[in-house]
């Protein structure tokens, strides 16, 4: 998905947030629910959403990023609009149930686990136990939960989604799926900061003797697709007191990195 412009929370979401303020002992403890709130609000949790959540809960945005990457159920920009989560833990995988479901998804959408369609509409991934082990395979599609989801039921469901989106199975089978990249954008190791002064010892320049750009990532492509803009932003302290200005909430002047987001 393309990088979205500055985002603001809707008034309903803010009202929900203020309801929680009375409910929870401190603001930090609202983080799990606030992340759900921004996920619902924006469809996924991207960098802007993380900054909004950090502002709301008065925590550092690095911590929010740690939360979002720790908990795998949060929807990220790399995930498709329709996100298929297929349980791959033992109870579902027994007797090939998981593989059958995955094979059906692949036959319909051309997706292997970990891939998304190029238009970002569908994605497929394997997840761990979804706690309905007596009726394998269990599939969760965004907020919908399905048991014994294989065979005609799964095919019919995917067809229904395809029809609703005005797409056909053949379109996706002909296209090359993209690998979902849920990684966090980082500054390349040979990055030089603007305005660095030559104090102390030698500068570390881009003549990195050990690492060529892109080395170290699994697929051989550069880990970070672009060099972020000059980083001169002072560290912004998290907004205390919950007074969130909707006009610039979570979207500091520092812009965002040129990291890859699907």
């Amino acid at each position: 998905m393309a990088k979205m412009p500055a985002k603001t929370l809707s008034s309903e979401a803010l009202r929900q947030f203020h309801d929680w303020v009375d409910e929870y002992p401190n603001k930090r403890s609202m983080l799990m629910m606030v992340l759900r709130l921004v996920e619902e609000e924006f469809g996924c949790i991207d960098d802007d959403a993380m900054e909004i959540a950090a502002d709301l809960c008065g925590v550092n945005v690095a911590h929010v990023q740690g939360m979002v990457t720790f908990y795998t159920h949060f929807k990220r920009p790399a995930h498709g609009k329709h996100r298929f989560m297929v349980c791959a833990t033992l109870m579902c995988a027994l007797d090939g149930n998981t593989d059958q479901a995955l094979a059906q998804i692949r036959a319909k959408l051309g997706l292997k686990p970990g891939e998304a369609t190029p238009d970002g509409l569908f994605s497929c991934e394997k997840v761990e136990c979804l706690a309905d082990c007596d009726k394998p395979p269990v599939i969760q599609k965004d907020d919908e939960h399905f048991c014994s989801m294989k065979g005609p039921a799964l095919d019919a469901y995917i067809d229904k989604l395809l029809t609703a989106e005005g797409k056909t199975s053949e379109q996706y089978l002909a296209a090359t799926p993209v690998t979902m990249d849920l990684r966090v954008a980082v500054l390349p190791v040979h990055y030089n900061f603007e305005g660095e002064q030559n104090v102390g010892a030698r500068r570390f320049d881009d003549k990195d003797p050990y690492f060529a750009p892109g080395e170290g990532s699994e697929n051989g492509s550069a880990r970070t697709t672009g060099v972020p803009p000059a980083l001169k932003t002072p560290l912004t302290a998290p907004v205390a007191g919950g007074a969130l200005n909707p006009s610039n909430a979570g979207h500091g002047a520092n812009g965002t990195s040129g990291g890859q987001h699907g």
Binding site: S29, L31, A88, A93, L94, T98, C133, D134, K135, F146
Partner: protein
């Protein structure tokens, strides 16, 4: 999304229709009694069957200590997995600290093979809520958190609705049941982390952190949520409280064994004719459970092994199954554990190497990464299990597996490392010949089944079934990252 569940699933066999076991006292389901009735999740339905009467009777009236005593007398043991006596745990709650006490209800239900809490949350949330109210009164807590795993979407919606209804009715709020007992109930959603089923990991998550378990001691009863005294109980445990308070400790003790009194919900999955959730008295035999409740093995299959208490429980062979009764002591005596009550039956066609590789992949994926032995060990176990699964193992790799598993045990903050090592040790102990067969077995190499991409970059990614319909190579959950 009630309407969308489950489109092709056969309806779970009603537990009440299951043939009666043969304990002295006839047993019919208590907690799951109403889950098959339509609209059982609504307040009207719950009130119509005498709901909230027990709470109304006791909150603000009965001495809280006497409620703790009833639960202690009943011998109720924690249903989340550890089986710690609930009343005793309540008794450990630090008093006079000047800090508020919290109740944290664990609805993360992340142990694979367990799906009992899902049914309570989705089909009878008010039952849980009444238990929460009674427990809060018993431990004199004014704030309860109910933590649900993020994937329980219907459960969250229904529980949240139930809390709203109860609040509107005045069952919880500033004056619960009109008594001077303020009570807040907060529902928190997780987001896909097995480790948040660990009690302190769950507390970290509620506090707005990564689900990192905390160092014990201090135990949550002394310093838990927000560094305040906290009681952590499983959903099923809390749901039991209402019935025990209502009917008395002796009523609860009429079922079960001496050390494992009462009844418990067991989840049956795998190669049986009627998988599902069944509430049975503790102490019935495993054979009876599988053959009578589960309807026996699926046609044409024989029993190879049983995972008795969720994925982390050591396996039982058919001989052990014969000796096994469903109570904490019997399973502990067999070197396994009752755990969360998730029983999975593996049939003779299951490739154990596939099963252990899948299991290890699960723990590798779910280790929080805090402690060194677990963070590194789970990955190592998975890689070694994969080698065995793919037939790449070298001589000595099997012994290495055993040693790595041994080194992981008892050296971490929480028990996830043990939970990963225990099944590995059990598979090694019970199915060592299958491991040995895969050591550099030429036929596996010839099939082109090289390691997965992460291990051998040029590998083929096709899934290949081993022999009879066993466990397929389901690859690595990590390829989401």
């Amino acid at each position: 999304m009630a309407e969308t569940t489950p489109p092709a699933a056969p309806p779970a066999p009603p537990a009440s229709e299951a043939p009666k076991p043969k304990p002295v006292v006839p047993f019919s389901p208590v907690i799951l009694k109403h889950i098959h009735e339509p609209n059982a999740h609504t307040l009207e339905h719950y009130l119509a069957r005498g709901g909230y009467e027990t709470a109304r009777k006791h909150v603000g009236e009965t001495d809280p200590a006497s409620l703790v005593a009833i639960v202690k007398d009943s011998g109720l043991r924690g249903r989340g997995g550890a089986g710690f006596p609930t009343g005793m745990k309540w008794g450990f709650l630090a008093k006079g600290t000047g800090k508020p006490a919290y109740l944290a209800v664990n609805g993360d239900e992340s142990e694979p093979g367990t799906f009992k809490d899902r049914h309570i949350l989705e089909k009878d949330p008010h039952q849980l809520l009444e238990g929460v109210i009674l427990t809060c009164w018993a431990i004199q807590s004014n704030h309860a958190f109910i933590y649900l795993r993020g994937e329980f979407i219907l459960g969250y919606q229904r529980l949240e609705a139930a809390v709203k209804e109860a609040r509107a009715k005045g069952f919880i709020g500033e004056k619960s049941f009109g008594k001077d007992f303020p009570l807040k109930v907060t529902v928190v959603r997780g987001a896909g982390a097995y480790i948040c089923g660990e009690e302190t990991g769950m507390l970290s998550s509620i506090e707005g952190g990564r689900g990192y378990p905390k160092i014990k001691p201090p135990f949550p009863a002394v310093s838990g949520l927000f560094k305040c005294p906290t009681i952590v109980n499983n959903v099923e445990t809390i749901a039991n409280v209402t019935h025990i308070v209502k009917n008395g400790a002796d009523w609860h003790k009429q079922w079960g064994t001496e050390k494992s009194p009462g009844y418990k919900i067991f989840c049956l999955a795998g190669a049986v004719k009627k998988p599902g959730v069944y509430e049975v008295p503790l102490g019935i035999t495993m054979r009876e459970f599988i053959d009578v409740y589960g309807g026996g093995m699926v046609e044409g299959r024989t029993l190879k092994a049983v995972i008795p208490g969720g994925l982390s429980a050591p396996l039982l062979t058919p001989e052990m199954v014969d000796k096994c009764t469903l109570d904490y002591e019997s399973l502990a005596g067999l070197g396994s554990m009752l755990g969360s009550g998730g029983i999975t039956v593996l049939h003779d066609g299951v490739d154990m190497m596939s099963a252990i590789y899948n299991t290890m992949r699960f723990y590798h994926h779910e280790s929080c990464g805090q402690c060194t032995p677990c963070r590194e060990g789970t990955g190592w176990l998975e890689k070694l299990a994969h080698k065995h699964h793919a037939g790449h193992a070298h001589a000595g790799d099997t012994d290495l597996l055993a040693d790595v598993a041994k080194n992981m045990r008892g050296r971490t903050i929480c028990v996830l490392a043990d939970a990963a090592a225990m099944p590995m040790q059990s598979y090694l102990q019970l199915f060592r010949p299958e491991f040995d067969k895969r050591v550099a077995a030429p036929e596996y190499v010839e099939k082109g089944r090289t390691a997965r991409d992460e291990i051998t970059p040029a590998a083929k990614r096709e899934s290949v079934t081993h022999g009879a319909p066993g466990v397929l190579d389901v690859g690595m959950g990590m390829d989401r990252v």
